[in-house]
Symmetry: C2
Subunit: 205 residues, 2 copies
DNA sequence: CTAAAAATATACTAACCTGTATAGTATCGG
DNA sequence: CCGATACTATACAGGTTAGTATATTTTTAG
């Protein structure tokens, strides 16, 4: 059987070699953390759903905290890669990327790649700023904001950081609202608000 | 000693009679849930900080779930009362209330009444839609959105519900961002974005 | 085929959790 | 002073949790 063969992951820029079981554990954990919460998901549940045992899990991850950090990192990486691919496929004017950002976010939320925004949930469950999980969440939130700021700069927007903060707030709020009530139309609403804010910022630049 | 005397709570519209200890338990729970998370705060910790015992806690609240629900309700009620008082003190034009909404939100966040937005945290920790805590969080989020919609209606805004959804996303996103990183300036940024969105909505009405 | 490596099965520890049982103390109204 | 009520103190039951120890089976590589 090929069950334990190693292979490369499909996501661009993520060509680390990772065993199938490790990937399965990560995927199952991502799903369970999203649907039940991190603290409410025990490692026993994870290994049961992943079809393996705790011994194997603790071989790949030295602790549950380490597993949570790995889930956060993979989830963030996948989103960044997906979004970069989408934006790099654009060829138009310098402001096209930021104009299309929320359209891609909407597409991503309805795509099979979407498993929630892990850093939002994680920061809520681990509010202590000295906690490593909180720190990583905070860092990822900041990275995403800087990513938007870069797009704003490329679009020659004067207050790029200011717009980026506004748009990241819209993003986090929309995801939050969707998690409170699915199908609330929050993403569509945020997309519209983003267009208003971007148009004004462009006009002022 | 007056320790066991009953008295009325100070918040307008909340003149239920509640023992001092019950109030203390509620307040301590609110603070601990906010700073450590709900699932990570045990009843033993709550009674220790409140200076009482589990027997007393379970006399006032039949379960931890009931306590969490009570915390959510009180927290939401206090915010609504505080905000209503602020808005009712205004006497100006019909669009003054919605114009000043985010200014009051900013003021409230820095006031001693602020203990975080409980329904945002609770919905993240209890994502299951059949969970009573999640349901109450969802209801409170909806109530706040309807509250904004009412203000938009009074300001004669055509798409009042649409604007209300946008503003509630800004609100939840800003609070979320502040919880991820304190002092991020998210509230100020959301206030500015809200002004842009409100101005456009007024112009279109 | 063989030896190493990978994964499983199972039982266990030690800590923590919610909720209860039991008994004793303090404070109140009358 | 007395009975009722509010509260405390303490121990414990029953469950779940993260993580480990030990032994066995499966798979891989050479």
């Amino acid at each position: 059987m090929l069950r334990y063969k190693l292979y490369k992951t499909v996501y661009a820029g993520y060509n680390q070699i990772m065993s199938l079981l490790k990937q399965k554990i990560l995927k199952v954990s991502t799903d369970l953390f999203q649907s039940r919460g991190i603290n409410s998901t025990g490692v026993d549940t994870i290994v049961a759903v992943a079809g393996t045992t705790k011994m194997t899990l603790y071989k790949y991850f030295t602790s549950k905290e380490e597993l949570v950090l790995a889930v956060l990192q993979q989830s963030h990486q996948e989103f960044q890669n997906w979004m970069n691919d989408k934006l790099n496929a654009l060829s138009g004017k310098p402001d096209e990327k930021i104009q299309k950002l929320f359209e891609f976010i909407e597409e991503w939320v309805s795509s099979p790649y979407f498993t929630g925004v892990t850093f939002i949930k994680a920061s809520a469950e681990f509010p202590n700023e000295e906690n490593r999980i909180h720190q990583l969440s905070s860092q990822q939130s900041r990275e995403f904001r800087q990513f938007i700021s870069k797009l704003a700069h490329e679009a020659a927007i004067k207050d790029a950081d200011g717009l980026a903060l506004q748009l990241s707030i819209l993003f986090e709020g929309a995801v939050q609202a969707e998690q409170i009530k699915r199908g609330s139309g929050a993403i569509k609403s945020a997309k519209k608000a983003a267009k208003t804010l971007i148009d004004l910022a462009l006009k002022q630049s």
